[in-house]
Subunit: 248 residues, 2 copies
């Protein structure tokens, strides 16, 4: 194992060996060295390159597969995963109907503006003093009835020349666009949820009374490199929809 | 692999071999044949008993470990996992403060009654016509300020002679009690969330105005055998707390 790369700061790395291998392969994906669809070297090749056992490589690949960063295809090999609309919807759109079933809403872009990040936003997203953010407002509807508004903020430096089709979609899920156009692979989102009365603006868009209870979601999203690439606030009218959360 | 057990209904099992091994081992845990803390046979012993390769056994154990059903201890072996207070709190109590930090509330049992299940409850939980449910109401507080009420319903047949200490805890997490006293290992919960105005009763207990927005969680919980062992409704005052949801 003499040729195993040292950690980047030169200090001994106390993590299990497979976790270190996972980090190295993760970094190649995050840096775009291995693009979505790229075929990874075989397990024996990786084991030899990194000077570790087959078992260690396999365990690292297992971990990357669980995080949806790679895909194993029977008899074909291992590939860097593409963000699919299905995964974007199923994993990152946790809205269900009253019976807990998946919802396929329409999505309408209401506005897209690019404005300076606030001090709070710069601190939270580790952005420089002159950073700009794109602000996308979208409205989701089901059977013509609007039920969810969201405002997404994206660093302009990470997403240059960002555009969304005006008006009603069939628009690709944003996370698919992030990867296809910008090489940004979303791997994790965290949301903090609360209940509050609808503001006049939210009430108007969601066609509900001002002050009526609305579910608010504050989301932060990270890419494969551990960088926060998005913040989002959503407002959900729960008259006909639910937010689903699974614990296991 | 001639000695590999056939599926219970005699039809060929189309799942990958490791998934079939996972089911077999899962069933031994769910049935209580292997109790919490029990040391599993070694990987070679399991491989021989089931007539599969070491790799297949390892993959099945990996899957059980990810589901928190077993624990591997370096140099000591593999054991059926015990439900710990820490896991019960961290995985199954998704309430955070406004900064997203873990909360350690006090919990007070308000009432425990045993009453017949409604028709809807019997259908949802697959219970017989004369089934009884224990109903536990608890109030969580932080620094003496109540912020969450919950009502938990448990089949009396699964949890005979169920009791909770009256008044303020230090009470063990319910999921630890389920396992220690009843051999019921909780592995999965699903919650549907909505926002609504506080009813007079909820408002009184949570010390908030009637009709003020409150976050409502409707939970269903399954044990290792795939049986629904609990239903729960919770009401959260989000003035000082948030519900956290992680997607990855």
């Amino acid at each position: 194992m003499s040729d195993f790369p040292p950690s980047s700061d030169g200090r001994p790395d106390a993590r299990p060996l497979y976790a270190q291998v996972e980090s190295i392969l993760n970094a190649r994906i995050a840096a775009g060295e291995w693009q979505p669809g790229h075929a990874l070297p075989s397990e024996p090749e990786l084991a030899q390159e990194l000077g570790v056992s087959h078992g260690t490589v396999r365990k690292a690949l297992d971990a990357l597969e669980r995080r949806h960063l790679i895909e194993r295809r029977q008899g074909k090999g291992t590939f860097v995963a593409r963000q699919t609309s299905e995964r974007a919807r199923f994993h990152f759109f946790p809205i269900r109907d009253l019976q807990g079933r998946q919802v396929e809403p329409t999505s309408t872009a209401l506005s897209l503006v690019t404005t300076p990040a606030t001090e709070e936003e710069r601190a939270a997203m580790h952005l420089p003093a002159d950073a700009l953010l794109h602000r996308v407002r979208r409205l989701r509807a089901k059977d013509g009835v609007p039920f969810m508004l969201d405002e997404t903020s994206l660093p302009a430096a990470v997403f240059p020349d960002f555009t969304v089709p005006a008006g009603r979609e069939p628009m690709e899920e944003l996370y698919v666009v992030y990867q296809k156009r910008y090489g940004v692979t979303v791997v994790r989102s965290e949301e903090l949820l609360s209940a509050d009365g609808a503001s006049p603006e939210v009430a108007a868009v969601l066609e509900m009374p001002v002050g009526a209870p609305v579910l608010i979601m504050e989301r932060r999203t990270w890419d494969a490199g551990g960088r926060m690439v998005e913040r989002r606030t959503s407002w959900l009218n729960t008259a006909r929809h639910r937010y689903v959360s699974v614990m296991e």
